[in-house]
Symmetry: C2
Subunit: 418 residues, 2 copies
């Protein structure tokens, strides 16, 4: 009986095919959470999984699971995957690579005629990106019991559609796939992903052994002024929310200068009524703050809140903390196994911290968890120009296959039969 091997060609072709669901005219994808495009992508995954005998299921949170059943299905399964939603102008690899690498590894085991002891579950988490419905990581947070379901289901997109409504549309599109409880026991979780930075590339490494995920705080800040006529209202009497925003945002950016490890982004700004000749009454904006050092993250977070309060001027200010996640560390045993697999296959590796957030953060609160990074060209991600080399895609899936076989008990069991 042959040892399982991943098919680099099939994995690459599937990555390209998945990029057709939500393809943007100039390259890249817009496949936001719970959208019609994501429904198309679900269909592809379910069909591909069925070809290898993987059974689809979903849960209340809208996560998609494809299960290769083990010989001891009563044991907690090994879970691997990522997400298939994208940013509005996203790339072909963020999320898709990890999900399809897990599908490829499970398919390779099935095609080799092997049955793992523990079931292997390929997962695509609901709304990792958080662009349509903010903040992201909803599926893994619900799975890990980190956020109340009612709160998540009530979040609305810019068109007023709630997560609950959008999720119903997805589930309605797949009436026959099985439902399972949200948050079943998991033996181990492994998530492959592109690095979304350029350390692997610049140091010539192919496999990133991820030590943990840098801490993150996100805020929604609302400035409330008063509408008035742009031609007549005296400046001294105005409560101009865009003026307040500009001062606050400029001061925040100044306050972040100097520390090369801080990441500070105001990515979303909504102005109301947003008419050229009306003094703007409201600005609602989002802050994304990250730092690998938890103490520094706290200091910068406090500074942000100070600046927002001090700079509102004539406007009212309302600060909401959406995400407050310190840096975390992944499981030492899994990290060692990733390193050993890379060495075995002759793949240069590097230990590194993830600057981006991932569903693996939530899974680490629930079980042993780890991440496998591969390089992405120029560190460019969340952009249509995102790119990973086919050889690196294959390398990441190969290392994942080793981990799944070890964790699900494929190699040992089959070893006995040889």
């Amino acid at each position: 009986m042959a040892l399982p091997r991943i098919s680099a060609d099939r994995l690459w072709q599937r990555l390209m095919a998945l990029g057709e669901d939500g393809a943007l005219p100039g390259g890249g994808v817009n496949r936001q959470a719970l959208s019609a495009e994501e429904i198309l992508a679900w269909r592809r995954l379910i069909d591909w999984g069925a070809g290898a005998g993987l059974k689809p299921s979903t849960d209340f949170a809208g996560n998609l699971f494809l299960t290769l059943e083990g010989s001891a299905p009563q044991l907690a399964p090994v879970v691997a995957g990522s997400h298939i939603d994208s940013q509005p102008t996203g790339g072909l690899f963020d999320g898709a690579f990890g999900t399809l690498a897990a599908l490829e590894a499970a398919t390779a085991i099935a095609e080799a005629g092997l049955t793992p002891e523990r079931s292997i579950v390929v997962v695509a988490w609901m709304n990792e990106e958080g662009s349509r419905f903010a903040p992201g990581m909803m599926g893994s947070e619900l799975f890990a019991g980190l956020r109340p379901a009612e709160e998540v289901m009530a979040v609305r997109d810019a068109d007023g559609v709630s997560v609950g409504e959008a999720l119903k549309a997805v589930h309605d599109a797949f009436p026959r796939i099985a439902r399972r409880p949200t948050g079943f026991p998991v033996h181990a979780y492994v998530e492959p992903h592109i690095e979304q930075a350029d350390r692997l590339e610049s140091e010539g490494a192919v496999i990133g052994v991820v030590s943990g995920i840098q801490g993150k705080k996100t805020y929604e800040i609302r400035l409330t002024g008063r509408e008035a006529h742009a031609g007549t209202e005296p400046m001294a009497r105005r409560q101009d929310a865009v003026k307040a925003f500009a001062g606050i945002a400029a001061r925040m950016h100044e306050a972040m200068a100097g520390d090369p490890l801080v990441k500070f982004t105001i990515g979303r700004v909504v102005v109301e009524p947003n008419a050229p000749s009306v003094v703007p009454a409201r600005v609602t904006f989002r802050i994304d703050l990250r730092h690998p050092d938890n103490a520094a993250l706290e200091v910068f977070g406090a500074r942000i809140e100070e600046i927002a309060k001090a700079g509102a001027g004539a406007c009212g200010v309302d600060i909401r903390r959406l995400v407050d996640a310190p840096s975390n560390g992944f499981d030492t045993g899994l990290r060692m196994a990733i390193g050993a697999s890379a060495d075995r296959h002759g793949l240069a590796r590097l230990d590194l911290l993830s600057a981006a957030g991932h569903d693996a953060r939530q899974m680490a609160s629930l079980t042993r968890a780890a991440m496998i990074f591969i390089p992405c060209r120029g560190g460019i991600s969340h952009h249509p120009g995102e790119w990973a080399e086919p050889a690196h895609v294959a390398a990441g899936a190969t290392v994942l296959l080793d981990l799944l076989m070890a964790e699900a008990g494929v190699s040992s069991k089959q070893g006995d039969e040889r």
Copy 2:
């Protein structure tokens, strides 16, 4: 034969009724240019005009005319009115008062059984506000030949609908009303309007004799950076368009401080892709700059362009000048007639400059033009809380009636018959 008198009750009731087209739940209206709500308002105006024998017509530019035909229709008519489009969160009086005051004055003449020598044309100009399609004043600019028709028709709203397309929908809704040339000869133009500032109110005056309109410049500025992942892209390598915007906007606001006559507004800001965890690639924003002194307007305009160029940092900057209108003065004879009418009716009056722009600016380039202001409470306008007292509404229409009778030759002609 009785001298014509306006009906204060009818005028007020019509103002309130027009406010139902586009009524907002909490008060005020959203009746943007060429919208379904404006079509409803057209229907009301046409019906009300028909009741007094006024004939509707429209032109290529989407202006609505209601004509009380004179005994010498070959002579250039007297035109009076304003507009009926509103800001997204507008009030019941801006534009609507002037249009309905003109309709009331023409109706009063017709109901008194009088025929003016010159025709009297009540006008509602297309897209004065410029909130849906920017910049505003489109109908009067096309009428006065100040902007190329192709350029105006190609402007698109946020949903991608062009002026030409929206205008076709309006004209299609009224297939039987007559078409007339855009920009016919005009004997005189008078526009009543709420002041949109509080000088009349604070000085206890009822009629504002408008000396002119303060100068205005508007710009659209686009900052172009590059999308990147908010958690991974090093700050030093980012081209963050919101960061550039904040710095530029804050510096512009600082540069405007100190001169009590300048009016500076950034009312519209559009961020792309506007996703919380993506470094923003583009910010497009509008500047509305006004100053009664033309030299000062030029200085502030130059300063704005300097700041935009200097502050773009790693982003590209593109500056478009949309409107560049110096302060103008209205016709001396018409202004004297307004003052004399106010005195005759015992209405306290005040000479003042309009801080807001109006269609009368464009008409002043074509013919003798003037404006009659009435107070608006607290100077609040472009806001649902906009309010004018019924007595002031009636006073403005009464003064307009005097002007229309004199300019269209009602009083003199009827005087001969007495």
